[in-house]
Symmetry: D2
Subunit: 293 residues, 4 copies
């Protein structure tokens, strides 16, 4: 359920709390405090008020904000009642149906973290691929308690920012999204390569996870980008460009097997809010790629 | 055991037969007939004489030449007494320790081919990767009997040519080899990238098969090439260039994970006797590759 | 003076003729005939009506339409009273201040054409560079009279289409423009190269003619493109990318002189209404370019 | 006239002086002193002996070694009797037929240098293009006298090393040469581009100077390299690859003018003894180049 900034500004404080329910999990007090600063000129201003409320709260209150968060990872077929937003975030990161062995690893890490710091491990998982989540977990288990409280709260605010961006319409959108896009150019023909199938995989410890499966349009691009309107999770990806069919169609195949058929391009994303344009310029016997803009 | 052309020319006919034992499996008559044309100026001339003896033989004799060949594929841990050359050729193609399921597929294909044509399927397996061997098998099962006899004999001659090249020293080497090589250039530094680990994998239906694991020298090349002095088997390959460590060493890594770390380059080889130079020109955020010479 | 489509539709026929004065030189009858088909839903529909009037006219009338056109080329410092639109078109193509020798060549070609066909050589010069204009002149001098009448009229309509696009505002713009743009990416740093000076030269028989002199913005692009909102004249161009200063600034220069300093990229344009995106991906020791989209 | 190291070792001291006449201009004493160290195992050892004789000489003797050198630059049509080696070195650098204005500039620089330091400006001009020679001149005019004496002597030794390499045959060649080469690969066809005309120009203040005009062989290379067996003069170069005809021949031209016809690649050489491999990978609508090895 979305709400416009104008409508939000017109609500009373209770209405604001209801409208922003779940942006901060089990913590209506955040919206309540921020509501005092109405009206908000932009969504960014609204978020700044929410963030200020959190950062200005007593240490114990902030600690309790973390405690409200569910543990990371769901067993395949398991059912833990969690907030709706949290559930879809888990699914996006592939944490919603872990195999037994993987789930046990998360459970052990959750327990270790909880026992060391007294609050659960909180991470804005929409900014991370699976391998990156585990690296964060291991790194943060070594942190100092005061730092971990601050880091956990910063992650709570990142989670809230993304949830808020989905909730709100109207002026001043809070855009902290990244973008992953591609473009296929046939340099033998001097035109975009249309109709080329492209798969995007997230690589990690286990089997690759299919993130997108698309076909280039007349301009050689994937309509709307491969990842857009959300952070690009920190991870290693592989794009698979199925160019063999394209060149066979123009009679340029050459050889059985052809020199080029499926072209993998493997790259790392370290800035989830960054722009990753990864084009392919390709002829039947050569190709190039780069991080573009 | 190798023999020089001069020494061979000096032998009597029985000596020539002994010296060339196994070049044509269980068929001393081929060397015997060719021996009449001594002396040979070059190894190529010697091979031409052997080939002429085979092609000029009675149809039934040629058929028997095929019948002498062992079936394709060895079960893991199994022991079928085969000629030494054939055994090492099987090992090179990864056909010497097939899992039960894979072995059963080869056994079925061997049986079907034998039953249809009355002689075994013969293929110069040093010119093919595993997937290509299966494609050949399936394609040739549909052939006409007369064509298959001719094709099988042509493959016998290809096998003999490679065995002969290993057996002989001296003038006029019979060179029908291919070559696969690479070169890594750091285009940010303007010099060859030394010390870069490169893996060469053969791709197929099952798990990738490691063919070479090497490190670039000071000139950014792999000493002696990746495949040289033999045909490059028809197959799809993947080169894995481990450039991440190289760029981290020069302080150019950038990001965690870095944009480029392990770069896969996937390409097909269709001409086993061709030259495949597949270089990589790479900077921390871009790379290009092509079929060079 | 521009006019909106709505205003034009509201005028009487005389008003339409006045509003479109000069779109067809000295030929008010074209607008007069087209005016009968008001109202026009789009500028494209208006142009179709004008074109239909021209193509439907008697041969003698069409011939007179050509005769109204001024000869090509103006002597440096000379003054021939010509229609305002024609004057600016001449200036754009560099035909407005020819040196004596060059002017004499145009004068001779104009005279030869006029004497052969009985009407002047007409060409939509906004679609051609200087060298292409001369090639057209020489090619068309060999044409058959009937073809040349048709070709000249087609060029009159091309000239009119471009003039009309400038005259009209409102729905359905008549867009038959091309575009020439570029983009500079620093592949060592993985970002657009900002602040890079780029010159665009038109090459021909004489000295190169500077067409644009620009600096890349934060996204590595030239704001608004190098040529936009008009056809890209048929010609050979050279882009000069001054990348030396960019790499020196990031400490990557290397060598005196540096390996790369000013990078020329020379290319031909044959489709004036096409899109020519000519990017440069560059590191201190390598670069690539291609026709993009 | 060349001499082998064995023959030189067998000569008496006067013979050595005669055999090495002109390696150090008007300075027989250098060879005379070095002769005492016979026999020489390699040409490099011989050169080390000559260099040691020079560096060990009294300051006044070293100064006189510089004084023996002729001024830089010859007027077009002028005749100054100079040593034969010096004359051919002047011709190689394009300093042997200067126009009046250019000659005057050199004359003024020679005079200024002579008047400031008391000895002429000496430079190993085979290591420099014309523009680099002038830059050196201007830079060194600002030097301190003691430094200039040392720099001049170092240049005398560089000149001698190159002259000695031409004079001597036999073991241990003194190789301090550079190399400039290229390679053209057609990435649409996956093969070397044979028969492509390549011009190499040296750029400078005036008109470009043609250094080489060659055609690629079947492997897409220029036989023997573009510059080999001598230093590559410090300069800015432009390679002009005439690829248009190549693509037209394979029916890939496209457009009039074609997108790619003559491709200029401009690059700087700063290490005369370095290896500069500057290949072109090209399809009808894209190309790339880099400093290879």
């Amino acid at each position: 359920m979305t709400v416009s900034l104008d409508d939000l500004n017109a609500l009373d404080a209770e209405g604001v709390v209801a409208a922003l329910d779940g942006v901060y999990e089990h913590a209506p007090w955040v919206a309540w405090e921020a509501a005092a600063r109405r009206p908000f000129a932009t969504v960014a201003a609204l978020f700044a008020a929410l963030e200020a409320a959190v950062l200005g709260a007593h240490e114990e209150t902030r600690r309790r904000l973390l405690i409200n968060h569910p543990p990371l990872g769901r067993r395949k077929g398991g059912s833990v009642p969690v907030a709706e937003a949290s559930a879809s975030e888990h699914a996006g990161a592939g944490l919603d149906d872990l195999e037994a062995q993987e789930f046990d690893r998360y459970a052990a890490l959750n327990a270790a973290y909880q026992s060391r710091f007294g609050f659960p491990f909180v991470l804005c998982i929409r900014r991370h691929g699976k391998a990156s989540i585990l690296r964060q977990f291991e790194r943060r288990l070594d942190g100092a308690p005061a730092e971990e409280l601050a880091t956990g709260i910063a992650e709570v605010n990142r989670i809230a920012a993304l949830r808020l961006a989905e909730r709100m319409t109207g002026p001043g959108p809070l855009a902290r999204h990244g973008r992953l896009s591609t473009h296929v150019l046939d340099t033998a023909a001097g035109r975009p390569a249309a109709g080329v199938r492209i798969e995007l995989m997230e690589l990690g410890a286990g089997a690759p996870r299919l993130i997108a499966d698309a076909v280039t349009n007349a301009d050689g691009r994937v309509e709307g980008g491969l990842i857009a309107g959300r952070p690009v999770p920190i991870a290693t990806y592989e794009l698979l460009f199925h160019v063999g069919a394209h060149f066979r169609a123009s009679g340029d195949g050459g050889g059985d097997p052809a020199f080029l058929d499926v072209i993998p391009v493997r790259f790392g994303v370290s800035e989830p809010e960054g722009t990753y344009h990864v084009p392919l310029t390709v002829s039947p016997f050569a190709y190039a790629t780069y991080r573009g803009s």
